[in-house]
Amino acid sequence: MTLTLFLEQLFNGLQAGVTLFLVAAGLTLILGIMDFVFLAHGAQVMIGAYAAAAITAATGNFYIGVALAIPVTFASGYFLEYLIIRHLYQRDHMDQVLATFGLILFFNEAIRIGFGPAALFSNLPPSLSGFVEILPDTPYPTFRLVVIAIGLICALAIHIFVSRTRIGAVVRAGANNPEMTAALGINIKILFRLIFATGACLAGVAGMMLGPLTAVQPGMGEPLLILSLVVIIIGGIGSVRGAFIAAIIVGLVDTLGRIFLPSLLRLFFEQATADGAGPALASMLVYILMAVVLIFRPTGLFPAKV
């Protein structure tokens, strides 16, 4: 275990963490404010990635692709809320799980029909595909650094928006008590729709950034959805600050666990046992973390509702 490897994995974990945060930020407000179990948030990630990949392929310019894909994801969230989601707020969680499960099936098949089942690979423009030396002799991909930077900027923007602006105050009030907020003359329906669309947009941005790092394929958002649910539960439903801290923790635990847990186990157990149990334990680590958090703090680390 060298310092270089450790630093590299630390950055990878950070990058995974901020990407997760972008997905979780919108979802935590949807779960927290609207008390709505939205499983199709992963589909928004996929829509973002496909929109960016398709527009990039059509125009030949990565930046135009991303710039045009952002309004596409915002619109998709807006209309989804208008057409289907708003009819489900009053239903119980079970109905919400099933309806949004239906949405997942629909979006995955629609993408499969439109773009084929095979994965798309999008190439990065030369300005982003190089390496930067973060330490002497420690090159790190530029694009991943850009992802970290964008993620952190988004996190900061969301934080300022939620805690410093008037609309943010309304959002927080909505999270605490929707009825009272509505009684104060806030149009909670429009507020819900805008939060929903913004959440979809953030998830889409996560998809656009993941596109060049992994494969763009149907169902690509689902592992991310499950992980971001874990993030939200650990952070406390409805809390953006909690989601950020939990996302970084989960990103780091997941990435570092996969790399270092097998060698860590080797210190205590025999080689064969460690090699067998290492990967198993590493992929379970995040869920174990969540279970432990829930057992000791049943409402997460930073619950939004008092």
Partner: protein
Amino acid sequence: MAGFITFLFLARTGIRENKVLWLLIAAFALFPIFTHFANLPFWNDVAMRIMLLGIAAMGLNLVLGYGGMVSFGHAAFVGIGAYCVGISQFYGLTNGWLHILFSLGVCGSLGLMIGYLALRTSGIYFIMITLAFAQMLFFFFVSLEQFGGDDGMSIDRAEFAVIDLYEPLRLYFLIWAALAFISLGLMFIIRSRFGVTLRAIKSNESRIEAMGLEPLNFKIISYVISAVICGISGALFASWQEYVSPDIMHWTRSGELMIIIILGGLGTLAGPLLGAIVFLLLEEFLPLMLGEIAPTYAENWMILFGPLLIMVVLFGRGGLMGLTTQYLAREKSHKTEEG
């Protein structure tokens, strides 16, 4: 003797009150005759899958429909049941009864453990923690390389002393017997004092607490029972598919079980079985239908199924059982008007 007569009496009223369920079970018993004469042996296979999914959904329905606990990870118990068979065969244990006993024990104790931890939470948190445990088990089996890991392991049909499962229809009736036995068992559980308390907890938990009962105990016990039933389904599933992979416990499978219950009717005995029939028939016929209209897209039948599911949630309250009960009630009122 007196006990036996009470049993018969209870069974009689139980059957009378759950006509749809026992009609379906009788239909499954006669179904092979139909497939034999219609020369459709493939449909026996579909019927077996319906029964297996029906058993698992019935198990989930105990906590979901009757207890009001939205568990989003029950496919894990089905998977554990199947892996119990696979792993005991791997170590040379071929007796089917022992497999089922093993599955019961493992699923029961896992259900107890997960239930004990997860039931401290409620609402969205409960949904998510059950999902988390299921994911944990899913990844656990994905990374168990000696049992096939991601690719899964092949399994021989279990040996049940006198019953050779490789003979035609033996497996069919074994699954059928399990279905009938579990239906009977669930019928008694739901009609018992325990079942009534469980339903009461669903509608008003604090009231049950005020009556001096501990709701958590009832919830945990129902969770364990449902885990065990899913385990049996999984153990038989292993013999049916002769193969098991982590895919069986993927989180979308848990979603499917919930779909089946909602389609059929939440909190009814026949609902899960009815839902399983509809679900698998849709899975068989939607591709055919789509193939007629747009041949290139026959594989993409999910594009119809997804919206259909949303429609059912939005407009079809109570599922198919809700519709049948309404129909039966109308018939009854007609009859009383005439008489």
